[in-house]
């Protein structure tokens, strides 16, 4: 891989390297036109990302009464979040939701990818069908499933009664035991296609000749998968897992619409709690502090993500 570097990075680098000035500003000045290409992107990203981050951190140290000016209150927002029992309960919910969703979606998504890469008639159609849940909106998804889980007339309850498994309507989204598993099921339904695409993309990078060689050496299908395919997919798997975890941590719409965090806050996760604090209770200060806590958690994950992402890049350059 590393051997191909000069060819791939080509021209500009090679040509410029010989007479490239040392001073970074001189180089920046000489290459001003390069920046013109990324300027619009940078500009947009700055206003909608850098500024909001700074402002959130600023607000997190203030109490924000609905009328009147913001009042500095130091770390009070932070301490009140972390000492509240509620925070830890919601953290538990978030972990439950994220870990179970990620594992299930990953297993199903990988299975779907392994199938969708086999060659058979109608493969394009099957791929298309698998991707539908991912494409439709979270709001539509939420209502479809609210209807499926409806306790009196829903599909699940109705079918189970019809089959004689239960005798009275099954309460799902209003039950403290079943609401979270039901939400997780919907979440997996919605997200497994994403994992499928990522894994499909990864599977296509596995060189054919390696598989054929393994086959010739008498490796079974499982052995081929375990010793040839899997090692090749390591990078993709790490990136996909990280993205899925982050995606799950940030899923707002499904829990918000389907249960609103209820019953008894058993389906409140960090994100829905932040939203409720800010836009239901209008406590922007404390919600900002909560956001900053989330920032820190995400940043630590971003670190691994960037490492995984740029690992391939460095090798190529």
């Amino acid at each position: 891989m590393a051997v191909t570097t000069p060819q791939q990075a080509t021209g500009q680098v090679a040509i410029r390297a010989s007479r490239e000035p040392r001073n970074v500003f001189v180089r920046m000045y000489r290459q001003w036109a390069d920046y013109a290409y990324i300027f619009p992107a940078l500009f947009a990203m700055f206003f909608v990302i850098a500024y909001p981050i700074a402002y959130t951190i600023y607000l997190s140290f203030y109490s924000t009464p609905t009328a009147g000016d913001n009042v500095w209150n130091g770390l009070t927002n932070y301490t009140s979040i972390i000492t509240a029992e509620r925070f830890w309960m919601i953290t538990q919910n978030t972990m439950y939701w994220t870990i179970v969703s990620t594992i299930l979606a990953f297993i199903i998504g990988t299975g779907a990818a392994l199938i969708a890469q086999r060659e058979f008639i109608g493969r394009g159609l099957v791929r298309g069908i698998f991707l539908i849940p991912w494409v439709i909106s979270h709001v539509a998804t939420a209502y479809i499933w609210v209807w499926i889980f409806h306790s009196d007339y829903g599909l699940v309850s109705g079918m189970l009664m019809d089959l004689g498994i239960i005798s009275s309507p099954l309460v799902i989204l209003d039950s403290t035991t079943w609401a979270m598993p039901a939400l997780i099921l919907v979440n997996v339904w919605k997200d497994f296609p994403f994992i499928m695409i990522m894994m499909l993309a990864g599977l296509q990078t596995v060189p054919d000749h390696l598989i054929r060689a393994a086959k010739m050496d008498g490796a079974s299908t499982w052995q081929q998968f375990r010793h040839v395919t899997l090692p090749h997919l390591k990078g993709v798997i790490i990136i996909t897992l990280l993205l899925t975890i982050v995606m799950n941590l940030n899923h707002f719409t499904l829990p918000w619409i389907m249960t609103g965090g209820g019953p008894a806050s058993t389906t409140h996760i960090w994100i829905t709690e932040v939203y409720a604090l800010a836009f239901r209770s209008l406590r922007f200060g404390i919600a900002s502090a909560f956001s900053v806590v989330l920032f820190i958690i995400m940043m630590s994950m971003a670190y691994f993500y960037v490492k995984a992402m740029t690992a391939g890049d460095d090798r190529r350059r």
């Binding site: 500009q12 920046m28 290459q31 920046y35 013109a36 290409y37 990324i38 992107a41 947009a44 990203m45 206003f47 909608v48 990302i49 500024y51 909001p52 607000l59 299975g111 086999r118 099957v126 069908i129 698998f130 991707l131 539908i132 849940p133 494409v135 439709i136 909106s137 979270h138 539509a140 998804t141 209502y143 479809i144 209807w147 007339y153 109705g158 990522m198 499909l200 993309a201 296509q204 990078t205 993709v236 982050v246 940030n250 719409t253 619409i257 994100i271 939203y275 800010a278 922007f284 900002s288 956001s291 989330l294 920032f295 995400m298 940043m299 971003a302 993500y305 960037v306 740029t310 190529r316």
Partner: protein
Amino acid sequence: MAATALSREERLERARRRKPKRQIRSTDVLAWITLALLLLFSLVPMAWMLSTSLKTQFAALQLPPEWIPSNITFEHYVRLLSPQSEVGQEFLRYFWNSIFVSSMTTLAAVAIAVPAGYAFSKFRFPGRQGFFIAVLIRNMFPAIVFLIPLFIMMRAVGLIDTHLALIITYLTFGLPLAIWLLKGFYDNIPTELEYAARIDGASRFQAFIRIIMPLSSPGIIATAIYAFIIAWNEYVYALTFLTSRELLTLPVGLQRFFDEYVTNWPGLMAASFVMSIPVVIIFLVLQKFFVQALTEGAVKS
């Protein structure tokens, strides 16, 4: 002698033919079962939505649930899509708002992401790596963490309750992945092509527009689909930024419908269905480009 040789050859030939077949068969069966289960899993909710939307309100509340409605009715669709009815007017308004916001976002996202992706791929300017990492990090941040400051900011500049506020925010959600996808695409286009154009007298910008852009059209289409779908489906920001009823986009509009017609499940399912059609169609038609772009761009090393 000749006969035995032939039969041995024959036997070998048969064994050769049989062996791979038998090996494939056990995994094949497993694959077909998994395929069937997965198809069921993906399709049942969609089928149930469609089936419910074709029932009368009364029939929808019957037990046991009916898969194929005995009386198929299109009344809910007619009501949603006819400009005469009150519900129809409202729904069509939301629909139009969604189309407007999503198309504008898509146009802007493509216009911004194409040059940026190209620059990240081909140019070596100071700070390039840093910018790229910043772009990647954005991928890790939950949209909702930006909600509070953006809300306050938009309120300060008077953009609350406008479509512009939504277009600006959606744009930046899509940009990081779009830039990343396109960068991967441009990495695969040989720089020699550009040099050839330059030698023929084109400026760098001309080479970019005439040579590189057409070659990367699958990547650009993928970016466009991605930006469109994100904008079409987005809910939280629309919920927070928009207050006037006539400005709502479909996801929030659907929620309005839900609050107002809680018991009219067929109507709600019809609305969900109509709302899903555009993205599903766009996606199915252009899926090839999307998967190709991800394959080319996202995952390689």
